[in-house]
Subunit: 336 residues, 2 copies
């Protein structure tokens, strides 16, 4: 029987990475179909499965697709994922549309693979910052029972897609000639398009959109809710702050965690050095640059808490387009 | 009686800002003296007190100086501050050389002004990230008794002086032509000079130097020790992570705090809206760009904790060259 895989949102930053990863991992499919909005439809993409013409998502017939990797935004997932499932496909969705649906497993490959079995046609791919953090928090939780965590992010602009990258580059070019003005606050501000405020040589301590809950962003609430769902532990306390930084690729998270019992640095390092898909750095500190283009999430700076004893502070960083999105979706497809 | 003020380290980033602030605030001194290393000595600087020839710190006679603002690094402070004190000057030192000395008051103007009275010739200016955070933490502590805090920083390169700014600009220019390479991790790495790893389009989750204690940096331990000393509360638990970000000016801190009793967002906002030297933003989110060139520390994103109830998460950002360093030193001089 021949197998068909589809990438929906094939021309976006994550979609392109999905295609790249499917090829590099020689994903066992006989046919590939690519979907995008009407604007990108009709173009031909050269792939390991031969040249593929991008189809218009709104018009296309999903019959015959076995697995569809969706990364076209929440609205398109809500509009079209059901159609693909009804036609027989398993949809692995990278948007936040179905993540909190109790009927839809939320899976970090390597952390809660078993959840895949419970799917009813739809499987959700977690938020990119949450996923990066879970690669370290998952194994630690399994060993010692995570009880509370303060998680603060350093999210790159590619988390917002190509538009995020373009905005950072444009603003960097705009601001670059007037460093003195940046020093004393007299530099003219670039006109933001995607983000509400400039990201060039700046940080935006408000990643995501207003959630309506207590001043938190949706991105911050994802860190709380998705952590609990992925780890299967609804009582974990999470204090999130999500911040956009002027970095192209690589989401970092600084987290302080406490467990149901004291955990030493030695134990945490021992657990993390065996964690699947994670690389523990003990001699150097991993940065977003180090994570770019890599499948592994990098962890480092494992330190004991200085106040309330027995906890751990650490740093994790991962390529938000790969493990943070496309790679995990492909890994879920492999599990399916 | 005529009064003389001196700036030591007058050609550095903080020293220049000190001079600018002394002029703008029409500091009540009759004479100004400027000191720097032999390399910069002999140059003439036009000031509000007329042209001043920069003196060689190592050779100069400090007699007649009433107040000396030191910002020339810890080694020079250790070597020369005593000489200035012996000659009759009150030294306000911006380095970390004397901050933990129990005989030396550590003062954030507007937070613990009374500590100035206990000086014996030396007064220390706190670390720039700590100072920014204390502008919010101080008033909250006074109202409700801060018990524990997780503090994570976003520190700009000017915190490392002109060299930090130069390194960010050089690396930005070096990396800018190969955005695709930054996306997939194939871009050539610029050769770092000041920092151990590239800061251009990157974050370095290791600001400061190795402290030798449990993998923490000296910068992180300052956040713990200086918080306790400034607030006069040695039992406060602090979990610090210090991260350098590719921003020119403005240190941000994301903090989650718990107190000896529950604090609501309304109470915290009410306290912070009256806090001296702090501007509370409730409609927009303050960024490093907003803080550059401003005397006030900006606070925003006051949120209730989501896990352990009764705490507050918030964001503060301040110009690290002004309130974070030069302004506070001048404010201490005014108190003296």
């Amino acid at each position: 029987m021949s197998r068909t895989i589809a990438v929906v949102g094939a021309t976006g930053a994550v979609g392109r990475t999905m295609l790249d990863i499917l090829e590099k991992r020689s994903f066992p499919a006989d046919h590939l179909r690519l979907f995008a909005s009407a604007r990108s439809a009709g173009t031909t993409v050269d792939t390991a499965w031969g040249p593929v013409v991008v189809e218009d998502l709104a018009e296309a017939d999903p019959a015959g697709i076995d697995i569809a990797l969706f990364s076209a935004g929440g609205d398109r997932s809500r509009a079209h994922a059901g159609r693909f499932v009804d036609a027989g496909a398993v949809v692995i969705d990278n948007s936040s549309a179905f993540r909190s649906d109790p009927e839809v497993p939320l899976v970090v490959a390597g952390v809660n693979d078993d959840a895949v079995r419970e799917h009813k046609g739809l499987i959700a791919n977690p938020n990119c910052s949450t996923m990066t953090l879970m690669m370290a928090a998952g194994p630690l939780h399994r060993a010692a029972g995570l009880t509370s965590m303060v998680a603060v992010t350093y999210q790159s602009v590619s988390g917002s897609g190509h538009k995020g990258v373009d905005e950072l580059i444009e603003q960097t070019d705009f601001l670059r000639p007037d460093i003195d003005g940046l020093m004393d606050g007299t530099a003219p501000e670039p006109q933001p398009k995607l983000y509400e405020r400039p990201i060039g040589f700046n940080v935006l301590p408000y990643a995501g959109s207003a959630s309506g809950e207590d001043g938190y962003t949706d991105e911050e609430l994802k860190l709380v809710k998705e952590t609990r769902k992925i780890l299967g532990a609804p009582g974990i306390e999470v204090e999130p702050t999500c911040v956009r930084v002027p970095v192209i690729v690589g989401h970092g998270v600084a987290a302080t965690m406490w467990f149901s019992r004291p955990v030493t640095v030695e134990e945490a390092e021992s657990i993390l050095s065996d964690a699947p898909g994670l690389e523990l750095w003990t001699d150097e500190v991993p940065t977003p640059h180090d994570s770019a283009g890599r499948d592994e999430v990098l962890a480092g700076r494992i330190r004991p808490t200085l106040g309330r004893e027995g906890g751990i502070s650490l740093w994790v960083v991962g390529d938000n387009l790969r493990k943070g999105a496309a790679l995990n979706a492909v890994q879920i497809a492999e599990l399916v």
